[in-house]
């Protein structure tokens, strides 16, 4: 297509390219600043308005947070809850999606309608909180995993994916005497690895980033997750309670905030390329059809 045939068009293109490149850089700039700041001294952070490279390289902030028990506990907790939670949520979603993909299963339509209704209407914060309380899950990590265990959207997308796999695969396996569970495990799951990987990542990001659930359900601050810890550190300056630290040691107060943000962001950035590979595809498959 000959689009570039006018001078006006070329000027527009050039301006557009510059503008978009600028948008891209601006999006990234806060990270660059925080990343650089996490390796700088407090003096430099307060003295220099903005920088992308520290003059004086310092690991002080990281040394400090990685010798703080509260931080390490929050980090380990978050990693474990995210790992266990992702597995639990994925298993629950897949085991429910598979039977729902069978068109001749009775009761399927009813259950699907109830799932769709649950997308539109929810009990809301307080009734859910009271439920968690009645189930005795307050201050339990299960409260961070179970309430959002099956995302209705993901469920329906995975169901549709199973439905679109060729039926002959299952039929020939059935001839060979495979059970339904055997078919799911040995035939469908290997075929849907990329799809499931995408949803696993989405679930993992959801748990890792979750702030509302720990805020609502974990009042015991020894159980806090990284997001809660981050909130505590960046929102107030009298931080950390620092029990095990040399009383004469003055922590790099600003640097700590920068370093905790970096630690909380890094896993997302590391997994982002894997996420990105699939999400556009996943989103489009997801144009929910009955």
């Amino acid at each position: 297509m000959k689009i570039h045939n006018t001078t006006g068009g070329r000027i527009f293109d050039a301006a557009n390219y510059v503008f978009l490149a600028l948008i891209g850089v601006l999006t990234l700039l806060p990270f660059v600043y925080v990343f650089a700041g996490s390796f700088a001294t407090d003096a430099e952070i307060t003295r220099r308005a903005f920088f992308v490279w520290p003059e004086q390289f310092s690991l002080g902030a990281y040394e400090y947070i990685f010798s703080t028990p509260a931080f390490i506990r929050a980090l380990v907790t978050t990693v474990l809850v995210t790992a266990v939670g992702t597995v639990v949520q994925l298993i629950l979603t897949v085991t429910m999606a598979y039977p729902l993909a069978k068109r001749n299963l009775r009761g399927r339509q009813l259950i699907l309608s109830l799932v769709v209704f649950a997308m539109v209407f929810s009990g809301g914060m307080i009734p859910t909180f009271l439920l968690i309380k009645d189930l005795g899950l307050l201050n339990s990590y299960w409260a961070l995993i179970l309430p959002a265990a099956i995302n209705p959207f993901s469920l329906i997308i995975i169901k549709n994916f199973f439905q679109e796999l060729p039926a002959e695969l299952e039929e020939s396996a059935k001839m060979d005497g495979a059970t339904e569970i055997g078919i799911l495990w040995r035939i469908l799951l290997p075929l849907s690895k990329p799809v499931l990987a995408t949803f696993a990542l989405f679930y993992a990001v959801g748990i890792w980033n979750d702030f509302m659930s720990p805020l609502l359900y974990l009042s015991d601050n020894s159980k806090w997750t990284l997001q809660m810890y981050l909130r505590q550190v960046t929102a107030s300056s009298d931080l950390l309670g620092a029990g095990n630290v040399d009383p004469n040691y003055i922590p790099p107060e600003q640097g700590i905030k920068f370093a905790v943000i970096v630690v909380a962001t890094l896993p997302i950035l590391i997994f982002y390329p894997f996420l990105q590979k699939h999400f556009a595809k996943g989103m489009l498959i997801g144009s929910v059809k009955g």
């Binding site: 297509m1 000959k2 689009i3 570039h4 006018t6 006006g8 293109d13 557009n16 390219y17 503008f19 978009l20 490149a21 948008i23 891209g24 999006t27 990234l28 806060p30 600043y33 925080v34 952070i45 307060t46 308005a49 085991t95 429910m96 598979y98 039977p99 069978k102 299963l105 009775r106 109830l114 209407f121 009990g123 809301g124 914060m125 307080i126 009734p127 909180f129 439920l131 189930l135 179970l146 265990a149 099956i150 569970i181 990001v205 890792w208 980033n209 979750d210 702030f211 997001q227 960046t234 929102a235 600003q254 905030k257 905790v260 943000i261 909380a264 997302i268 950035l269 556009a280 989103m283």
Partner: protein, 324 residues
Amino acid sequence: MTTSTVDVKAPEQAPPPAPAPGRRRRFAVHFAHYKWLYLLLLPGVIYFAVFRYAPMYGVSIAFKDYVPFLGVNASPWVGFQHFQDFFSNPDFGRLLGNTLILAFLNLGIAFPLTIVLALLLNEVRLSILKRTVQTLVYIPHFLSWTIVASLSFLLFALDFGPLFLFINSVLGTDIDFLSDPAWFRPLIVLQEIWKNTGWGTIIFLAALATVDQDQYEAAIIDGAGRFRRVWHITLPGIRSTIIVMLILAIGQMLNTGFEQIYLMTNALNRDVADVFDTYVYFVGITQGAYSYSTAVGLFKSLVGIVLIFGTNALAKRFNQSGLF
């Protein structure tokens, strides 16, 4: 094959009309045949019953005076008492105002910006630039609001935050953006734009890819310039997507995002910061007014549902394809 003994399960083969016991029997056969599938279905069904539908039943406490040790069922009914209390409470007007102002700012600024960004990206022929920019602008969507809030605290930090220094030197002022109530809303909208504008373009870019390319060729032959092509071909081509997204956005209007607002609220900006979502938390969880706050939450959900059906009906009246 047909040399059968007489007692082949006749009811299973027999066509309807089936009397009730026969139907039950056939369901039993169906169930036995698919028992593994039903077993797989069970955990999911239990999940929806417990974590999705039980809270919906729990909404009934909006019409009761919830007493923890009596539970949801035994607590006494009070009718619309909590709703009356809420509507006559001076907080109501303030909450509604704050929520609506934020909603309209997001709808009026962030929503069109998403379309503009998608259109600009769509004009890019240099695919490496397009992909790089897309990759970059999608990232913030995957970060938590805690991180977004923390980044804001650092960038606007009093006396040394880069944006604090920059904006104040440009305006020649000395504003503390984080505590000045006048700057609460701009900050919220800015965060929203940074976090979600890029991600929002995905759906529009997908729609843009389906616009008929022949029309552009025809328009070029007719001498239509770049902007006229966008105005007369591209925008009408994605009109239905824009309308669907607008309906969805309006349905979500009152959902101001609990985490974002909660994280940015402080003692100084409380008056402009309080919205329905955070109010439910403060009154319900921290003050223990469970029934009252459930009523507030229910009111908000119902308004959301009315909004979504209302906009949908409106879109249909103007002869546009609605959402449903």
